[in-house]
Symmetry: C2
Subunit: 415 residues, 2 copies
């Protein structure tokens, strides 16, 4: 039996116990896990040192080493994450619907765990703890497959968490780490129907595309964000500038940041030159349509490929449009259906935009950067779903649950 | 451009209009469609005759020809199905959640259509109309790929519906039929990410498995049901007999019928011989464990493979167990997580069974045959989901919807 099948089987064997744990038992386990991480911080940092050393020898760029690196501060904040999950309401066992049928059948729709969740991710060891905590809180077993560059860190972290769970009501087998660094272990997980109930990829677009295109296990797709902001003719210039600067430059590396600014011609003629200056001050490179370049001579010419690119960087496409209809057409063509915004003072335009744009989150007069589980008040975020099944947009704890119908009868049969 | 890409593109082009239709417009279209089917019944029956003729020449079994055959009565009942969909509440536009954030952002979670739904099915032409009606009511475009043996019928039906829709607010392009009878057109649909938002297979297990194992588009899996009924020691004999006979023999060909009866030893010793007689009277073949065969000498010996078989026929496995724990273990091993039942007078046993069995529908003292959208009071049924993502169990109209967050701001930016 391969490591993947073996560990997924062990995880599945714990699902019955997990589904029946009380909220108190789960929260207690989360706190014990947090405590253990803090206590074993030095051992985890030592293991992390091995990963960093290997990374340096392999010539890994500093920015990636930084994402991999753990210190006491980071471990404390990871432990704090578990404590925050402990105080969130437990969705498991909630009654979602009650149906009383004329034949006397009483039907209750109850929230239950998904079962076994596979998480496939890259080199951030914080995901190991975060995913374990979110899955545990929702009564799910989890099979983790992190990037091989973080293997020593992940192995130590999971060892610490296993020791911690052994003192609690949660079976340690509920948390499994795939250690096989070969790509084949990922491929095996993707086809593990019957043992894994769902796979959630967390990482860059090539990781996500590999999962989406090859998995036979159901997937929750997360990720790609080509987000637009449309400045309507009636947009208030101060608000328009603040929102578009925030959407682009506050943190360009994330999926809810803006890649293309669409500007109504009337607005552009009056305000685009000064808005462009503000972007220049914020170190943002502009790529514009011919009309934009006419107004902002230092902007580079934009290409159709640029409109279809998620830069995650200090680069912004700017296109001048004749009005709402052209903006809607552009968005329909290039949007990845993540987050889209209109800045306008015209209520009717806002209503049309929010109705007609097909995206997880549609904004009137606010930055697309708010598409986030914490900003929505969910208290947690598993990721941002860019598909339409099961969950769409920021996913809180309920995204890690399923449901079940309990039917109470007194001898009813079907005629 | 292939037929599949061409028609899926045409379908997708209608999604904006579809999402904005009023409930009245959609209901009106459903009634116009129903009326057109009745009016054109003879033309549809003539086209159906071509399919039947081809089927007879190809030596298709009578039972399959019967599923394919249309007459005035069947067309009337198909038309009536559309009228029933028209009176159901429209889920689109429902506000699912309202969140007011401390920073003044107001977030509304709204129910929206999925977009374009692909339906892959076999030789029943009623599915063509049914799927079209359910998708239209939920504001979705639909790409239908029916079995080639029903092609003439489906082509005529879709022609009639297109003519009908041309008189309504619904763009006829919202309904597309793939006519290419080759398997390659199915394969192409399965990989049509970006044009299809979801695929729902309807049919036998080989069709469903092909879709599940090869689709990169998200799938809602429907189908397989290896359902169990467990008769506990305290089961009332009259109720136990009625429920188990109903679960097996009222309509054995469907997914919510029972395949294996688990019987507590104490119950079996007293009542199994007479229960077995009732099954014999109902023409049900029994395959029993050794203890069963000792009590019911005419029963055939059961095999492990039998326990894993969905017969959809007048055949029943019978296994005697030592109690609830053994019953739970058997179900965990062989269940397809569709519908499972306990017959008992002990409330605690019922509670444990309903909690611990991992299935879409878990019953206390009622036949598993009730797992059905109409029996649950949903007024419609797209199918019965046997997966845990998005929808589980009988799927009513909400299973054909997604959601979207509308966020209303007044200039908020993220700090």
């Amino acid at each position: 039996m391969s490591e993947v099948v073996n560990k997924a089987t062990l995880a599945k064997e714990t699902t019955g116990v997990l589904a029946s744990l009380t909220t108190g038992q789960k929260n207690e386990a989360l706190l014990v896990m947090a405590e253990a991480l803090r206590r074993e911080a030095q051992a985890i940092i030592a293991a992390n040192g091995e990963d960093l050393e290997r990374g340096r020898l392999a010539g890994t760029p500093e920015s990636m080493l930084d994402r991999l690196a753990l210190d006491v501060g980071r471990i404390n904040s990871i432990a704090e994450g578990l404590q925050q999950i402990a105080v969130l309401p437990d969705p498991i066992g909630d009654t979602l619907e009650t149906i009383n049928r004329p034949n006397g059948l009483s039907i209750e729709k109850i929230r239950v765990p998904l079962g076994v969740i596979g998480i496939i991710y890259e080199a951030r060891p914080n995901v190991t703890v975060d995913a374990a905590g979110l899955c545990l809180k929702t009564g799910n077993a989890v099979v983790l497959r992190g990037g091989s560059s973080a293997l020593s860190s992940n192995r130590k972290i999971v060892e610490v968490l296993h020791t911690a769970l052994a003192q609690t009501a949660v079976p340690p087998g509920a948390l499994q780490l795939i250690e096989d660094p070969n790509r084949s272990s990922v491929d095996e997980m993707l086809k593990l129907n019957g043992l894994l109930d769902v796979i959630i990829p967390r990482g860059g677009s090539s990781l996500i595309q590999n999962v989406v295109l090859n998995a036979t296990v159901p997937v929750i797709e997360t990720g790609a964000g080509i987000c637009h902001t449309y400045l309507d003719a009636s947009a208030r210039p101060d608000m328009a500038e603040q929102i578009s600067l925030n959407a682009k430059a506050q943190r360009p590396s994330v999926c809810n940041s803006m890649e293309t600014l669409l500007v109504h011609r009337d607005y552009a003629v009056q305000y685009l030159p000064s808005l462009a200056e503000s972007f220049r001050t914020a170190s943002v490179e502009l790529r514009g349509c011919p009309e934009t370049v006419a107004l902002v001579p230092w902007a580079l010419p934009v290409t159709a490929e640029d409109y279809a690119t998620e830069y995650n960087d200090y680069i912004l496409n700017v296109r001048i449009v004749s009005g709402l209809d052209e903006a809607l057409r552009h968005i329909a063509e290039f949007s990845t259906k993540h987050s889209e915004c209109i800045v306008t003072e015209e209520t009717e335009h806002a209503a049309r935009f929010l109705q007609e744009v097909d995206a997880a989150a549609v904004y009137h007069n606010a930055s697309t950067r708010f598409t986030d589980g914490f900003e929505f008040g969910f208290g947690a975020e598993i990721g941002i779903s860019t598909q339409k099944l099961h969950a769409r947009g920021p996913m809180g704890l309920p995204a890690l649950t399923s449901c079940k119908y309990k039917i109470y009868g007194s001898g009813q049969i079907r005629s």
